[in-house]
Amino acid sequence: VVMNNNKLTIVDTDETVNNVLNKNLHHIQYSTCLPIPAKESAKSLFDLLTDVLQDVVVTHSADGTISVDDVDIHIEQEDESCKKAMISWQHEDEQLGSFVCKLIKQHCKSITNEEEN
């Protein structure tokens, strides 16, 4: 919301920063690449995320990308024994992005531990 000539206007954040401060927003994107067990699939991670994050919209698109609100997860199969989850989010979604990372990391660790025992 910007006050200009005694008028309140709701504007987009990028536009506000540009017009009022004469500067651009600096967009920061984080991508974290996590190794995941070979038997893990986009479907099993989707089930985990929908189960834990019940108040957040989790979607699973046809190309295999999982979106947790504005946090995106791509599963990459490097070869038969090596799979990775690339988790990406913008600066403003830090709280959710870092939580999703921690959750997937813990989940993969518990699966690896189960397999070893």
């Binding site: 954040t13 920063v17 401060l21 500067k23 651009n24 927003l25 600096h26 967009h27 920061i28 994107q29 984080y30 991508s31 974290t32 690449c33 996590l34 190794p35 108040d55 957040v56 609100d69 600066h91 403003e92 979604d93 830090e94 709280q95 959710l96 870092s98 990372c101 921690k102 990391k105």
Partner: protein, 87 residues
């Protein structure tokens, strides 16, 4: 979910940024200027991370270490100006 209430603005000064990283204990830093473009790549080889800096954006790629990523984030927010925002 809660969005961050502070938004970074302006350009990142790469020498200031690498100085902050060093203060946070990240010392294996290699800065690469991409030809004539304004893009700068900051390689943190020992910490398995790469940061692509452009005039209005920064892209951080890490290999899973939350400790390293949070140091990069801290250095970025220290070096960039910020404004309060409510999205």
């Amino acid at each position: 979910t809660n969005k961050e209430s502070v938004c970074p603005i302006g350009q990142l000064n790469v020498p200031d940024f690498t100085h902050e990283l060093k203060k946070l204990g990240i010392t294996d830093i290699k800065v690469e200027h991409k030809g004539d473009s304004e893009t700068v790549l900051v390689h943190l080889n020992e910490d398995d991370a790469i940061i692509r800096v452009e005039p209005n954006s920064t892209f951080v790629i890490c290999q899973g270490s939350e400790r390293v990523r949070s140091k990069i984030r801290e250095a970025l927010l220290y070096c960039l100006e910020t404004v309060g925002c409510n999205r």
